[in-house]
């Protein structure tokens, strides 16, 4: 989450992309992630999370971390993909 300027040349180093993933076996449809991150996660007809594809936008990363910590079965994961 650190976005810092390379003061000398003015270029910014590339940021790692964070991806939200769910372990479908561990997921029990408790729904906390859907409550905490409705911008990226919605519920299917049976209460299981549908995660929007693509990297997590920067301004939502803190919420994404909170959702990952809140998952009762630790099914939600944030993985980093090199840029």
């Amino acid at each position: 989450m650190s976005q810092h300027d390379d003061g000398e040349t003015g270029r910014q180093p590339p940021l790692p992309r964070l991806l939200l993933k769910v372990n479908p076996i561990a997921c029990d449809a408790r729904g906390l992630c859907i409550e905490l991150l409705p911008e990226l996660i919605s519920a299917d007809p049976w209460g299981y999370p549908i995660i929007r594809s693509g990297p997590v936008p920067l301004h939502l990363q803190p919420l994404a971390r909170r959702a990952v910590a809140a998952c009762p079965t630790l099914a939600l994961m944030l993985t980093s993909q090199p840029p």
Binding site: R30, G31, E35, V68, A69, A70, L74
Partner: protein
Amino acid sequence: MTVSGHAGAIVVTSSTPLWYATRATGLVALVLLTASMAFGLLSSVGFQRPEWPRFVTLGLHRNLALLALGFTAVHVLTTVLDSFVSIPLQDAFIPFISSYRPIWVGLGAIALDLMLALIITSLLRTRMGLRSWRLVHWTAYLCWPVAVLHGLGTGTDTPVRWVLVLTACCVLAITVLTLWRLALAWPDRPVASTAGVVLIVVTLIASGAWLRAGPLSPHWSARSGTRSTPPPAGAARPGHRASP
């Protein structure tokens, strides 16, 4: 020096601010711990309303646990600092080594150790693996009753009516919620569920009987190991006399 009478027993207490603080923070910590456990139980039964999402229950559970720890820390601090009775810091962590009411203070040490384990593992939850975290978290079912018994056993306020009522309310709340949790835990194993209910009922009855025969009867402070220690020389403070 204050002399007060409750239900026929004469209780003599000291009136130092530290002693008051210990009792007060202890009671508050118990209430907070009860509240935290209550929200934890609500979380595990999946309680949810349109205007009360699950993350609120979870957030309250966690924050109240931290608050309870905070008040417990102050409670320990005031107890240690209070030179009226000698309870050094290690007595708060190592059970049963205290010279003052060893069993009951020891229970407090156990409860504190468990609280620390519960909170630290929860802070490290995402790095820990679900199974180990869950194993440690089950000790919450031990931590809370131990804390209650510690309060009843050490507390000089146990015979006070509003304290008893408060404690009873805490016990009622947790009992009801635990029974609710138990009902949902093993829907296809009636033997296990019944065993759980029996355990809860037996614990309640036994604790009630102990309460009547112990803290609520005369001579409790002597029987529980309150040894009178003279105040340090030069302290301008009312003395203490063991109750008859």
